[in-house]
């Protein structure tokens, strides 16, 4: 089971992620796109009188099974067989994060930032609540996320997806370089 506790190199993880696109099409003519499940869950729970949420979400029930699988995959890879070593990020990034005040770089997320206590501070509000809100809001506004635009759209050579992916990275770079240091200094 060593292959489950060790991290996978990019040339193993990347092709598996990419081949999910044709695999879903071959299995049932389905399109890879995770952010649409957020809309589905909203439609299933609090649709109100919102036209965008009143649609036949059950028709895409397969996608809820798919994201249920992602959760189980995360459970197997992160909880049952976690990597005992910290993520091998570059020396530069390590130094940068230490300068920003992080001391514990183990696990998949910095546990000194992502915990229940921090949640009720301004720092936690920005990182988890505002951050999460922008992920859900932005992906729906852009009609796709990293999987729908970044992988599926680019693999299908769709130029609007290239625009989206470039903007994902521009937004991420701006916040990671200029905003995150401010939030971590709170």
């Amino acid at each position: 089971m060593e292959f489950l506790s060790k991290p996978w190199p990019w040339y193993v993880a990347g092709p598996i992620i990419g081949l999910t696109v044709p695999a879903l099409l071959l299995l049932g003519n389905k399109r890879l796109g995770v952010s649409s499940t957020l809309r589905q869950i909203c439609a299933a729970t609090f649709p109100g009188k919102i036209s965008f949420l009143n649609y036949d979400w059950k028709k895409d029930k397969w996608n809820l099974f798919f994201v249920g699988g992602i959760l189980i995959g995360g459970f197997i890879g992160g909880t049952v067989f976690p990597n005992p070593e910290p993520v091998q990020i570059s020396q530069h990034t390590t130094e940068l994060l230490r300068e920003l005040g992080l001391t514990d770089l183990s696990g998949l997320l910095p546990q000194e930032l992502f915990n229940w206590k921090t949640l009720f501070t301004l720092k936690g509000f920005f990182l988890m609540i505002l951050g999460g809100f922008m992920v859900g809001f932005g992906t729906r506004y852009a009609r796709g996320c990293t999987s729908g635009h970044g992988i599926t759209g680019l693999a299908a050579l769709q130029w609007p997806s290239l625009v989206a992916t470039v903007c994902f990275f521009v937004g991420g770079m701006l916040v990671s370089h200029f905003v995150l240091p401010l939030i971590l200094s709170l």
Binding site: L71, V87, G132, A155
Partner: protein, 136 residues
């Protein structure tokens, strides 16, 4: 159950995201600082593998197991792509998660990310509610 095959595929996809560390907040910061090839290696192998699969599907006019003729996905441009994608990028850098990893982080035992996930649901709901007030 017909949908179990999607559950199975999701498990493999989630494992690749988790073991490939694409769900790691640390990897995402490293990526946005261009300090390692790792995440770019994932994208640069994922996209051509998917493209090759789509090319073969089209070339051989393959049908799905369910018997339908496969339509290769298309994406239509609207200005919201730029605005929405930037906003999502902001959130990606803060949470270290795009929507797929939101699920994987919860499964990975970081239970507080249930809050991040719920906030993402709320963000989607607010977009849905006020969709017509935003420029498209």
């Amino acid at each position: 159950m017909n949908n179990l095959k999607y559950l199975f595929l999701g498990i493999i996809f989630g494992l690749a995201l988790t073991k490939g560390e694409a769900v790691s907040w640390f990897r995402i910061q490293e990526m946005f600082h261009f300090e390692s090839f790792h995440m770019y290696g994932i994208f640069m192998t994922a996209i051509p593998s998917g493209a090759l699969g789509l090319f073969l599907i089209r070339k051989m006019s393959l049908r799905s197991l369910t018997g339908e003729l496969i339509e290769v996905p298309t994406k239509v441009y609207h200005h919201g792509i730029i605005i929405g994608a930037l906003i999502f990028g902001f959130g990606w850098a803060l949470t270290g998660a795009c929507p797929g990893p939101l699920y994987a982080q919860i499964g990975g035992g970081y239970l507080v990310t249930i809050v991040t996930f719920s906030a993402a649901l709320f963000g989607t709901w607010v977009y849905a509610r006020f969709q017509h007030s935003f420029p498209d």
